[in-house]
């Protein structure tokens, strides 16, 4: 029951996008997000749409998985649209009671909604095609220069990837313990707040114990293999740019240039 929540929501496939270097995808996503706020003309939306559709097609991720991420922002989306719709001043289009909808309001709220949706879809394209581990690897490498000013980049990345690794394990464990206690007649649903909180004890105690045991085991295993932080550490699979990554960067540059050029010319 609990395992249905997948963190990071990686969708395994063997597409061009999946195989790109995580750094490329991180930089690309960042550039894409910035680009969304750079233009303000109709042609811009067409270019962005084409670009996004191209990426989605190339990634081979089914469309229904991509729009799943949108569910989370539906409230935000509605509020944004409503505020912009009713509170923008300009030439009135429709008037009833105390509400006025203006031409500008309609335009702004529509474009705002599209931008938000594109933002979410764009960033889920990254998480759908990159495993959490690749992402932290990419981040570590991109933030590498910060080591010069004594930021423990490697340690932070390691902590992130361990935390990410443990989320599904702990979820699974919670599921198991919950079922085991339900089999002993435990009731996690009914009762008032105090009773509910109390009923969590049989779940939380074993869960904490198991988390500590796992953490301890992991620390031991890392130490047994002489782990001592990032200093002088090499990687089994170092991140290396492939031809496709350079192509991707070229596409990003072209796309970015197109957006800016349009904004200047039009």
């Amino acid at each position: 029951m609990i395992r249905d929540i997948t963190i990071g929501q990686y969708y395994p496939k063997d597409s061009v996008i999946h195989k790109l270097d995580p750094r490329t995808k991180l930089v690309g996503t960042l550039a894409y997000i910035i680009s969304l706020f750079l233009f303000n003309n109709f042609l811009g939306y067409i270019v962005v749409t084409l670009f996004l559709v191209g990426v989605i097609k190339a990634s081979q991720v089914p469309f229904r998985f991509i729009i799943k991420g949108l569910k989370a922002i539906i409230m935000l989306l509605m509020i944004t649209v409503l505020f912009n719709l009713f509170l923008t001043k300009g030439t009135p289009l429709v008037e009833f009671w105390i509400f006025t909808i203006t031409k500008e309001g309609l335009r702004i709220s529509l474009f705002m909604a599209i931008r938000l949706i594109y933002l979410i879809i764009g960033s889920s394209m990254m998480t759908l095609t990159t495993t959490p581990n690749q992402l932290t690897d990419g981040l570590e490498s991109l933030l590498g220069p910060l080591k010069k000013i004594k930021v423990p980049v490697h340690e932070i990345a390691m902590m992130m990837s361990i935390a990410l690794r443990f989320i599904p394990i702990l979820l699974e464990e919670t599921d198991k313990i919950m079922k085991a206690q339900i089999a002993r007649g435990a009731d996690f649903e009914s009762g008032n707040l105090v009773k509910k909180a109390k009923s969590l004890v049989p779940l939380l105690v074993p869960l904490f114990i198991s988390a500590f045991r796992r953490a301890n085991d992991l620390a031991m295993a890392m130490e047994a293999r002489c782990y001592s932080g990032g200093e002088g550490r090499t990687k089994m699979k170092p991140l290396l740019y492939q031809v496709n990554d350079y192509r991707a960067y070229a596409i990003f540059v072209l796309y970015f240039a197109a957006i800016i050029a349009m904004e200047i010319v039009l």
Binding site: D4, Q181, A183, R184, G185, P202, S210
Partner: protein, 283 residues
């Protein structure tokens, strides 16, 4: 008193990228008083199957009947079902949480709404039934050995006095002595209380010795459902599934190949001994 599974299918993570068809068209009838073994290789769906018996998992399709009532009916009392069908999970010691052993075993009966006195009485009986030493009753459950923890966990379910006891690999991770002790106690329990017992296991040797009906699972399907003797007759097919018949089955078949007229239908070492002696005496 029976459980009937009718065309039960179960799919993990349906409608995601990780869909997994864990159970395929399972039809089973669990009768009263039987001692049943469920065997199958890792990932064959044993644990998934038994969680259907007490309604912890809802089948993706198909129905389950307990005493003729459909357990997915909205007015069916699931709590009652769970007290009647006791399920001991794989590595049940991971569910211990109370300050001492006795309190932990009381958890089940208390959840049934029994009086404090009755709950304690049941906990005492259950701990005795699994052969747990009395001077450890007030020990913290976290300071026990693996085998002792396992017993406490089993007692925790027994204290609810189920009609059907399901044990998911009760001997995993125990040494041979601990394993035999626990299995013997389960057998005694079955004989004295006439409780239905379902034993999930990897080991053919274990089940061969105790059960009178054997269900073999393979990739989410019930492959065989018969007496152990009949099932072990298919020892070549079992091997293909990554399982093995008990070693005596191999020995007896080998003897047969060498034209020694033994009956290959024996399952335990004891029976094999008798059979070989019988053949040699008749010479």
């Amino acid at each position: 008193m029976s459980i009937i599974l009718d065309k039960v299918n179960y799919i993990y993570g349906s409608e995601t990228a990780y869909e997994l068809h864990a159970l395929k068209d399972i039809n089973l009838v669990i009768e009263d008083g039987q001692f049943i073994g469920i065997i199958g290789h890792t990932g064959s769906g044993k644990s998934t199957l038994i969680q259907h018996f007490n309604g912890l998992i809802k089948p993706t399709s198909g129905s389950i009947y307990y005493n003729g009532e459909d357990i997915s009916d909205s007015d069916f009392n699931k709590k009652k079902l769970r007290s009647k069908v006791g399920l001991v999970f794989q590595y049940p010691e991971h569910q211990l949480f109370e300050v001492n052993v006795f309190e932990d075993v009381c958890f089940g009966p208390r959840n049934l709404g029994l009086s404090e006195k009755e709950a304690q009485l049941r906990a005492y009986e259950a701990l005795k039934m699994v052969g747990f030493e009395e001077d450890l009753f007030y020990q913290s459950p976290f300071e026990l050995s693996g085998g002792q923890k396992r017993r406490v966990a089993i007692a925790g379910v027994l204290a609810m006095k189920p009609d059907i006891l399901i044990l998911d690999e009760p001997t995993a991770g125990l040494d041979p002595k601990g394993r035999d002790e626990i299995l013997e106690q389960i057998k005694t329990l079955h004989e004295t209380t006439n409780m239905t017992v379902i034993l999930v296991s990897h080991s053919m040797e274990d089940v061969a010795k105790y059960v009178d009906r054997l269900i073999v699972m393979n990739q989410g399907e019930v492959k065989y459902d018969d007496t152990p003797k009949e099932v072990f007759g298919h020892y070549l097919e079992l091997e293909e599934m990554g399982l093995a018949a008990p070693q005596v089955t191999y020995i007896m078949n080998r003897l047969r190949e060498k034209n020694i007229p033994v009956n290959v239908n024996v399952t335990t070492i004891e029976e094999a001994k008798e059979e070989i002696l019988r053949v040699f005496k008749n010479r």
